[in-house]
């Protein structure tokens, strides 16, 4: 039996506790995870890689560049990559999102706080839908 290659996820959240929790949780869920608290470092990692990520999990509110801006820059390198935004805000972000990505289909949202199992479930759903 051929062992299925693990799906690879890039997690970017400026809160070290969150990156640590999401990494452990997603690795437990069977994914390979790279996690960054600095969005600019994450971007340079993405640039140096070979479009290896199946999914980006991005916090929205971050210093230097926010999650939307980071996704825009990553899309310039890989326009197929899927993103899932983590948000602790209420409703305000959807307007900005609609403006930035008017026809984006490969994007979803997760509201913080989220239980670890729910996060893994949601990520599995995204991966299945993208097959």
């Amino acid at each position: 039996m051929v062992k299925e290659k693990k799906k690879k996820i890039l997690v970017v959240d400026d809160e070290p506790d969150n990156t640590s929790i999401f990494s452990i949780g997603l690795k437990d869920g069977g994914f390979e995870v790279d996690a960054f608290t600095d969005p600019l470092l994450a971007l340079s990692k993405f640039k140096s890689g070979n479009k290896e990520y199946d999914l980006l999990i991005l916090d929205i509110k971050m210093p230097d560049i926010n999650g939307f801006e980071l996704f825009e820059k990553i899309q310039e390198i890989d326009d197929k990559v899927k993103a899932c935004f983590l948000t602790a805000f209420g409703e305000g972000y959807t307007e900005e999102f609609g403006r930035r990505f008017p026809s984006s289909l490969n994007v979803s949202f997760i509201r913080k706080p989220i239980r670890v199992d729910d996060l893994v479930k949601k990520v599995n759903e995204i991966m299945v839908n993208s097959l």
Binding site: D14, E15, P16, D17, N18, S20, I21, F22, I24, G25, D28, K61, P63, A88, F89, G90, G92, K112, P113, I114, R115, V116, D117
Partner: protein, 501 residues
């Protein structure tokens, strides 16, 4: 002979008598002498027509004694009359605006009304009056993008003209009534009041018409004081209402923003607590690390809750200060000792120095809220330690008594200077506003609260990066009070406007 009532009316060109059954009139008037030729009729329809005519004139006339006293006193009495002819209304409207010396109040019922008045040149005339004759012009009107543009352009060209000629003094103010018409009764009439002396109120019969003459119905002109004053009071209450409504909208927006950010900030540590709790069972080997994470985030959540409560109290003017007499020197010394203990416990390589430049037996007597001032000093020391991470760095606290230049009152100046990373230039302009932080453990509310507390004690607070290049200095002043004061409560005033450091 008994006379029933005599009334005065201007402009009658002929004499006539009408009874129940007959009508008589001199055909031509010559001075006061009646001409021998007369018109007579007892035809019912002619008599009735003349009766109708008399009734109309009678209703329009004013009591004779009013006219007599007007002539005797040489003043024109106040009048109120109805004008039906749209052209006369238009002429009167323009004449009134042109004659204005001090002020014009104008209420427009619809955007279309504004556009019509603009077409006939009223808006330009009003801006001119404000510009050239310093007439105080106040307009209440519904607005939209088109009216905003018109106004902007008209005002711009007028202001340019004005600048060319003399100093800049503009008395034109327009407020937008974009409240639904049910909330404001004035939605069908235009009201104009000039110089608190005369008013003109006209109805619109068809708001869809672009032309003033076609759109306007009848008008009521008055220079009667009670009538004019009533319109002024309607205008002023609407003006105030619009003002309050605008303030309410701003306040509402700020409150929504605050709730949005506060909830965001609270979700962040909550996510960490929830996450660690979920993982702890699966990863007993990381239990210690995860408990630490939970505890750290629980403390952060608690601090945030307290800070949000303080901010809510400050913003709603309900943060009470429980003032008492105490010595600030002791308070600072205690705070420093506490933080020195913390530095030692955490094994941080930071030097904490305190220097009170005092003369013999000098002290720092303060009449204030001891707990709140402690909160301020702790906030500043915590910040200094948090942003001073490299080895061998120094935090030096100094206190100095000084005369406050303008008032000759004594104050204490406390400076907390560190050699840490300094204030981020992005944060600097809003350092003392709410939720300004780049720190993970901070709430972004501490400095806002501290500055509010200091200002409520009559002091000042500011911050700057050190000129020598490393670290920052936070400085606060508090007035010194040596007299024993009565213990009393006062309320922190809400901070407004410029709170930036």
């Amino acid at each position: 002979m008994k006379i029933g009532q005599v009334k005065h009316i201007d402009g009658i060109r002929t004499n006539f008598v009408v009874t129940d059954t007959e009508y008589t009139s001199s055909a031509i008037m010559q001075q006061v002498h009646a001409h021998p030729e007369i018109v007579y009729s007892n035809v019912k329809s002619i008599v009735e027509q003349q009766q109708y005519l008399f009734e109309n004139l009678w209703n329009k006339a004013i009591p004779a004694d009013h006219k007599i006293s007007e002539i005797e006193e040489g003043v024109e009495l106040e009048k109120t009359h109805v004008i039906q002819d749209p052209r006369s209304i238009l002429k009167l409207f323009i004449d009134m605006i042109k004659s204005a010396q001090q002020e014009v109040f104008l209420i427009l019922p619809t955007v279309n009304a504004f556009l019509r008045e603009h077409r006939i040149g009223i808006i330009q005339l009003l801006i001119q009056s404000a510009n050239e004759r310093s007439v105080n012009v106040r307009i209440l009107t519904p607005t939209n993008d088109i009216t905003d543009n018109i106004l902007k352009n008209t005002m711009l060209s007028s202001q340019k003209e004005k600048r060319k000629r003399q100093g800049f003094d503009f008395n034109f103010d327009l407020r937008s009534i974009n409240i639904s018409s049910e909330e404001i009764a004035v939605s069908t009439v235009t009201i104009v009041v000039v110089d608190k002396k005369e008013s003109l109120v006209f109805e619109k019969t068809d708001d869809t018409k672009e032309d003033f003459i076609e759109a306007v119905g009848s008008a009521t002109y008055s220079n009667s004081k009670p009538t004019v004053m009533s319109y002024i009071s309607i205008f002023k209450s609407l003006w105030k209402q619009v003002d309050l409504y605008e303030q309410l909208k701003v306040h509402d927006k700020m409150q929504k923003e605050f709730i949005n950010i506060a909830s965001h900030e609270m979700k962040t540590p909550t996510q960490a607590i929830v996450g660690y709790a979920d993982l702890m069972q699966r990863h007993p080997e990381k239990r210690e690390h995860m408990i630490q994470g939970m505890s750290r985030n629980a403390v952060r959540l608690q601090r945030l809750t307290n800070d949000i409560l303080d901010v809510t109290r400050i913003d709603s003017n309900t943060l009470n200060l429980h003032k008492e007499q105490f010595n600030l020197d002791n308070l600072i010394a205690d705070a420093i000792q506490d933080h020195a203990g913390h530095i030692e416990k955490e094994n941080l390589d930071i030097k904490l120095l305190y220097n009170f430049k005092k003369n013999v037996n000098d002290s720092l007597p303060i009449y204030g809220d001891r707990d709140r001032i402690t909160q301020v000093i702790y906030n500043l020391l915590d910040n200094a330690i948090k942003f001073t991470k490299e080895k061998g760095e120094v935090i030096s606290v100094s206190a100095e008594r000084k005369k406050n230049g303008s008032k000759q009152e004594e104050e204490v100046i406390i400076s907390i200077k560190d050699t840490g990373e300094g204030i981020n230039p992005e944060i600097q302009p809003r350092l003392f506003s709410k939720f300004a932080t780049r720190s993970f453990s901070g709430t972004g509310l501490g400095l806002y609260i501290s500055k509010s507390i200091v200002e409520a004690h009559g002091g000042r607070m500011w911050a700057e990066n050190n000129p020598e290049g490393k670290g920052a200095t936070f400085t606060l002043t508090l007035p010194l009070r040596s007299k024993e004061g009565q213990i009393q409560s006062s309320v922190i005033k809400r901070m407004t406007g410029n709170q930036s450091g």
